[in-house]
Amino acid sequence: MGNATANTMAPPPGGSGRKTRIALLAIAAIPAFCGYPLSIPGWQVLPGVPASWCLYGLMVHITVAAVCGPRLYANIVTVAAMIIMPVIFSGAAVSHLARFTGLSRQPGPLASVHYLRLCLTMLTVIPLALGLVTGIPFESAEQKLLQSSRGVGPWQKKLLMALRVFNHICFTVMAGLVETVREEKSGLLQPGSGRLKAFMGLMRHAAIEGICSAVQYIPVWAAEIGSLPGSPPNPKPCSKPADQEEK
């Protein structure tokens, strides 16, 4: 997820309808996250694939497209497909291998239904989650906190720190890591047993680089955010003036 991805996943300008958009998507997400009424047995499109989930998935996509706009919706579906494809295909491959080697006795059609249902669930839940996440104004939230005329309270400072780190990792560190993996991937193509070693080495290298890049500015940011003027203590309307207290 580099800068280019970050820009293409940016929500459309105009923050007035943002709350409505998040509220609409949150309401649409309720059945997916609580199971009602989707788990009630009913008409099935295929054995094991309920029609309720198919209709719900369709409704979710219409809602996300209507609320986010066609351009953002296209990007959301692309990212969702990139997440879903490896899961479904690698899962099906693992399942087939397990059956082929005798580790699993699950019949083939059952596994197919399982992956159809998984694909349907992920095709519904991931666009919903991405639609919700792109609706949260991370970048403007930081600016809003910094420009507060009443100062920045201790909890706001902590929130500011977490937001800054999250933005830095998602939009800067990940772009660098993608480059590292591209440069180092040649080791994975070598024949024989060196592949696993190369994979572990690449994973370790990527993780160390990711951690170092992720934490390198944290001490500076802690000092910077810590030096922001704090919010004044709340006035006590019920307290008596000093001269009255003396009496």
């Binding site: 199971g35 998984l118 977490a162 802690a222």
Partner: protein
């Protein structure tokens, strides 16, 4: 601006960084486990590294936030189990082998306990807690004893690979931060 406030902000930043890395590490590499509908991932590497480098509180918070947030993207029924199991895993590893008490044998013992918590914790949730919850809330009716049994080996494998990677990373990072 007090030193304790800066220290607190630094800790918040570290938790946010490792939680985000665990979240990304979990959603980028996902291999499904057919028997249970769960999946194999390497997000544990960051939970274990955080616990080894910064101690139990950071480890617990990273385990609680990062992988559970990743479960919300695609596998929401596992959020509860993941938050509890990985939170405990990070806390226990941090207590035994993390932070300033870090030494070779304690680190290895801590990592072994973390792998055991990972495999055992998911087994308890999937074999007993989820089926009971599923009787009243169908959302949780996704596993049973047989499926939980089938997930022990993949979880042990996931934990072991993550532990090896976390051990290597913590060694390099330990040297890095010491110089």
């Amino acid at each position: 601006m007090s030193a304790s406030e800066i220290k607190q902000l630094y800790r918040v930043g570290i938790v946010a960084a490792f939680a985000t890395l665990a979240f990304l590490g979990t959603i980028i590499i996902r291999v499904p486990i057919p028997a249970t509908g769960g999946y194999f991932n390497l997000g544990d590497t960051f939970v274990m590294t955080a616990a080894l480098l910064y101690g139990p509180l950071t480890g617990a918070l990273v385990g609680l936030i990062g992988p559970a947030a990743a479960d919300a993207v695609g596998f929401p029924q596992f959020i509860l189990a993941t938050a509890v199991v990985k939170g405990v895993e990070g806390a226990l590893l941090g207590l035994v082998g993390g932070g300033k008490t870090r030494s070779g044998p304690r680190v290895v013992l801590g990592l072994a306990l973390a792998v055991a918590v990972l495999a055992g914790g998911y087994f308890v949730f999937e074999a007993w807690i989820y089926p009971r919850l599923g009787r009243t809330i169908p959302f949780f009716a996704v596993t049973d004893f047989k499926a939980a049994l089938a997930e022990i080996v993949p979880n042990l494998l996931q934990g072991t690979i993550s532990a090896v990677l976390a051990f290597a990373i913590a060694r390099v990072m330990g040297k890095f931060t010491a110089t």
